[in-house]
Amino acid sequence: MARRSGAPEVSAGSMADIAFLLLIFFLVTTTIETDAGLDRMLPPWEPPEEEPPVIKQKNIFTVNINRNGQLLVEDEILEIKDLREKAKAFLDNGGAPSGDPEHCNYCKGERNPASSDNPVKAIISLKNDRETEYSTYITVQNELVGAYNELRNREAMRLYKKNFVDMEAEYLNPETTNEVKEELKEKVRRIQELFPQKLSEAETSSN
């Protein structure tokens, strides 16, 4: 007489094999996404007839990239590797004399009256050719952002004993708690006000 016990036990020996199979499938299909880059704000689309504000020539730092990837900075040919230092010198110049309302008391530059008055006034104007390679453009952008970041880091170190880039990364990190965020927000804004990123991009020329 057949003995009726519970259902026969299923062998779990092949469980590991099945799991391995799935594991290998997911291993192969996983792509670690590269989601980092240079953040930029585009200027709003405004009607061209609007009167542009008058900006003193000495407060503008012009950077031109030609189709061969060569740079013309302030009407002089410059190597890309020197761009960061040059941009920093321009932003940090603080040319307005003391007593002037535009005087910059945290600048450590040369205070050359022929260069920018104040980091708040200083504008970097970037112009490129339609034939310029994207990689060159990114390198130039990277150097200019780097110049801003270095100056902001310096001020953040002086005021808060912290690196600006780290502070900003922590502020943008979704895992940061709200209280920390509130505290950081104020500091990040303050540093950004000391060295606002004013990077204007002209429309590309085709010649």
Partner: protein, 160 residues
């Protein structure tokens, strides 16, 4: 007499493999959770340039992607070798970018529609002409926040 008397020679005790499935499952779950399924396959070459001053692009649901690059080998015959824009799954002209952004924006929840970022994934060999056309289109539809997505690395490697 010594305490460290040699054990009897012979078989090393077999390592139990009973916990192997557990370990494998743990790995499996890890990869299952971190896997992001791509929603569009790339039809263009997409080797991004390097940059060192990068910011992380947090929150994937707030990002719209635009790919630019040379069509890959299989599409070369039809679309040529000049860099092209890829939106979702098809090649497009710069004038279609605006409509695409508006469409993608409409798909997102209301509260996110104003905080969207456009991620430009552009091949390093593309020309700026195409990029500035895209930028003009983005400005027209008021999608002003852009991110030039790059690899993290030394920016000067781009120039070689």
């Amino acid at each position: 007499m010594s305490k460290f008397a040699k054990k009897k020679d012979g078989e090393v005790p077999a390592v139990s493999t009973a916990s192997l499935p557990d370990i494998v499952f743990m790995l499996l779950f890890f990869f299952m959770t971190v896997t992001v399924m791509k929603d569009s396959s790339l039809k263009v070459e997409n080797i991004l340039p390097n940059a060192s001053e990068v910011k992380k692009l947090e929150k994937k649901d707030r990002v719209i992607y635009i790919y630019v690059g040379k069509p890959t080998k299989e599409y070369e015959k039809v679309f040529g070798t000049e860099p092209k824009i890829q939106l979702n799954d098809k090649f497009s002209t710069p004038s279609e970018v605006g409509a695409y952004i508006l469409m993608e924006r409409a798909k997102k929840p209301q509260e996110l529609q104003n905080v969207l970022t456009t991620s430009l994934k552009v091949d390093k060999n593309a020309n700026m002409g195409l990029i500035s056309d895209i930028k003009q289109e983005l400005r027209k539809v008021n999608a002003l926040k852009v991110n030039y997505t790059t690899y993290e690395g030394d920016a000067f490697r781009n120039l070689q």
